[in-house]
């Protein structure tokens, strides 16, 4: 009975999770080689060549990678700091409500909100104008649609930091970090040693899979970079959609090349990261 239940579970997983993804991937792959597509004329490597030689994909990938990395590092760092400093206050009902609130706001709303606050004609620019810091809208610093992606990173941080705070608070409780810290203290460890040897290793080790998943999620984010990004380089999802919606029908296949490349890279990275590692005997 148990085995049958497991089989059905696997079957459902294959039907709902694997099949649609595999079908979409194969469709994109065939499209990228010109095998299918109403405007295509059969197998060609032309689209792959064009994408690889133009370099736009790699530039865009590197740009997305950096943005996601900076956002994850700052978010995880801030969440760790908040957890270590304000743990007790966060357990109060009002504070936990405040921390839950941003999780309920969709990315697209966060994007618009950031734009309204930080654009040259936005809330802070208007306040600066009223206070006399600037005399013209153009003097306000570039905080959205900017080359350093400040607006995108800010939005990502506001979106994911609360999640990490909640995650770390739970791990802190479940892994009994409090007790372990007291134990370390009684054995003579100072505050820094407790943070570096107990607090950080436990919290990060227990959550690194989620941290990596969030990194991959940010790498493929769409709405926030669409609203707050600049036109070149663009984050990957924005680039893919733009290529697929090209006015030149003969070039739509290039969008599928970008989608296939991105899927391959993320899949390989995910396999390498999450493959069960063979345990070395006598490992520490």
């Amino acid at each position: 009975m148990k085995i049958k239940k497991l089989n059905i579970g696997i079957l459902l997983f294959v039907l709902v999770g694997v099949l649609p993804f595999a079908a979409a991937f194969i469709y994109a792959l065939l499209y990228s080689f010109g095998i299918i597509g109403v405007a295509n004329n059969g197998f060609t490597l032309q689209f792959w060549k064009s994408v690889i030689t133009s370099g736009t994909f790699f530039k865009s990938f590197g740009y997305s990678f950096l943005i996601a990395l900076v956002a994850v590092v700052i978010s995880v760092g801030s969440a760790l700091w908040i957890t270590s400093k304000f743990r007790q206050q966060l357990e109060k009902r009002f504070m936990s409500f405040i921390i839950y609130l941003p999780l309920a706001i969709p990315g697209i709303v966060t994007g618009f909100f950031t734009f309204q606050l930080f654009s040259k004609g936005g809330f802070f620019a208007r306040i600066s104008h009223k206070l006399g810091f600037i005399t013209e809208a153009s003097q306000f610093p570039d905080l959205v649609n900017d080359g350093l992606a400040i607006g995108i990173i800010f939005s990502f941080i506001t979106m994911i930091t609360p999640f990490f705070v909640l995650l770390f608070l739970n791990v802190y409780k479940n892994e009994r970090v409090e007790e372990l810290s007291l134990l370390a203290q009684s054995l003579g460890a100072n505050a820094n040693q407790i943070t570096q040897r107990v607090f950080l290793p436990i919290l990060i080790k227990k959550t690194w899979v989620l941290i990596m998943l969030y990194f991959i999620f940010l790498l493929g984010a769409y709405e926030v970079p669409l609203i707050l990004g600049q036109e070149s380089p663009q984050m990957l999802s924005v680039l893919i959609i733009q290529e697929i919606k090209q006015y030149d029908l003969d070039k739509i296949s290039e969008g599928y090349v970008v989608a296939v490349l991105y899927t391959l890279i993320v899949s390989v990275a995910a396999i390498l990261l999450f493959l069960p590692k063979r345990k070395r005997p006598y490992a520490n």
Partner: protein
Amino acid sequence: MKRIKYILFGFLLGVTVLSCKEKVRQDDDKLKNASWEEIEDYADGTTVNFMMWQGSTAINDYINNYVVPSVKRKYNIDLQISGGQGPEIVQLVMGEKQADIEQGQVDMAWINGETFFQLRKVKGLWGPFVGLLPNASLINFKDSFISTDFQQPVNGMEAPWSINQFAIVYDFEKLPNPPKNIPELKKFVKEHPGTFTISNDFTGMTLLKSFMAELGGGPNSLDGKFDEDRYTEISEKLWSFINENKRYFWKEGSTFPKEQSKMNQLFANGELLITYGFNEGGIEDKVLNGLYTQSTKGYAWSNGTIRNSNYLGILYNSPEKAGAMQVINFLLSPEAQLKKADAKGMDSNTVLAMDKLESEWKDKFLDARKREYGPTLKELEVNAIAEPAPEYMIRLYEDFRKKVIEN
């Protein structure tokens, strides 16, 4: 356990049945040779799916609160609206063609130039059908801005719905003498750095076409079929003009707004001193909504700006072609066109020829509520230029990205 098996079995059966759905082919030739009374009979009681751009409250209000109830009342047709424009429509058609779907999701679509070109390229439109519509006789097809779409004869494959002209928008209190040609624009951007930009969308590319016509030597310089040499020669002048001056553009030309709504917002909050758009700049509703000040005005470039029509087409695999024809015929009726022309509503210029209308309707059109802020089509008439061939747009998109944005 058994229940799960049944659910799974049902699911698989459903998938199988759906994939083997019986192919029903509507007798298209019969429809093309039918009388209008027969078409009306076929259309009665149908559900017609209309894919259109839903980005304006005035347009949505016109469709949802006027057109949908009217066609239900008059013809017993359920008109369903779905959102989508140019690329989405083309993607949908290409996807359905790819999957060999004979009964498509969408019956009719709101299209213009480049979408018309693309849909014809993939044989995505059904027709010719315009000649079958009784109200088509009220349209002046001798007007080349109506009968030719991006230099391609319409040939009954799409029904003209409205006509408009591109206009430059400014605030005369902030900017008493706006630039009217490229040399003046060069001077303007240097004197007012950061207040001008080009949107990387259909509207921005349309502005570039006006620039190209001017750099080519006159309003008619891009007429005729696409000419590669001519494009290369004029576009080089265009890119060097932009690249030499883009440091005076918005954000020093390091990026460009993705779409028109952003341009409008930047203009409204004072970051830009100049914006532009179709429908004679789209000023009227924005002033009435309080987005633009009452000192906003629109004008055409002295060498001219693009004038074109937008159209309604029926998709090749529409399951309800007769219903779609009935709806399109209603949208071309004097009643529906008059309602659409209301300056406080959709504010759209009619495609109907005044001399073909009965005097009662003609008077109503002449008495209709006029614009208070935006320029009229008539005012811009002398500066109207025809849409160049669609390949110009396709190449401009590609080269603007390669030679300006990524440069």
